[in-house]
Symmetry: C2
Subunit: 129 residues, 2 copies
DNA sequence: CGCTTATATCAATATTTATTAATATAAAGG
DNA sequence: CCTTTATATTAATAAATATTGATATAAGCG
């Protein structure tokens, strides 16, 4: 069976996490210049091959790049719509009603019930001294 | 003295890193509903106050939220242009010529000199057996 | 097939980041 | 001032992620 589609929130988190790492930002920027295979990235960036492969996997799973085989080589290319997809997902996440997102069920309830006395409720002890 | 403006790459990295974390994504989503002070976030999210403060700092430094004082309270609000700013910075990062970005100086050189023999150069030993 | 090239995966370690508990600071109010 | 409320900061710990070194897999070649 294929893996279930992650929630909007998880999808957004995964994409931004992939984008928020220096090595991966370099890979993306280089792929913006031209397609590169793994060993070329290795040579240009001067870092180890497993390290490249690891980051490529993260980027691929976030939908930011594509990889295809060509003989033994794995050719990497930038997914041009990558970021706009992420931005769309983020926008959907930010506008989807809280009542619709399961992970917000309880928080939505508490948010609705806010009465302006949140701080007072967290008394700092010494009450009975 | 004020701190120097970070490079485009660092700016982008910081913003995406701020966005790629589940607790912060919740804070952002709640602030999309309404302004909230720290203790309200604490109550709605049901997590500790220092934890909230820590994440607020990260979000603030990434330019994604604003905080203002009102009496003892610190009122947090979503920076509406936050994401578009980030997207613009990312776009600038991805299109700025490699020759212009200092951190790409050496990589740009090696990229230019790629000759299609990157893989062969990384011989796997046994050459002399 | 056996061999080489190219990439992927895995387990162990290092590094970074988040969380907690304790404490410090800031802002009223009596 | 002293006290309470609200938030921030700090040091210690826990958890997540990146890196490395070793090894496995995959694809062409003789």
């Amino acid at each position: 069976m294929k893996k279930a589609k992650p929630s909007l929130k998880l999808e957004v988190e995964r994409a931004f996490k992939a984008l928020g790492e220096p090595t991966r930002l370099v890979i993306l920027r280089l792929l913006a210049e031209q397609e590169l295979c793994v060993c070329e990235l290795e040579e240009v960036m001067d870092i180890s091959q497993p390290r490249i492969s690891h980051h490529l996997k993260v980027l691929r799973e976030a939908g930011l790049i594509a990889q295809r085989r060509e003989a033994q080589r794995s050719i990497c290319s930038l997914n041009q719509e990558g970021l706009s997809r992420v931005v769309e997902a983020y926008h959907a996440y930010m506008t989807e009603p809280l009542s619709v997102m399961v992970e917000f069920r309880e928080m939505h309830e508490r948010l609705t019930n806010l009465d302006g006395n949140s701080c007072e409720r967290k008394s700092y002890g010494k009450a009975c001294l």
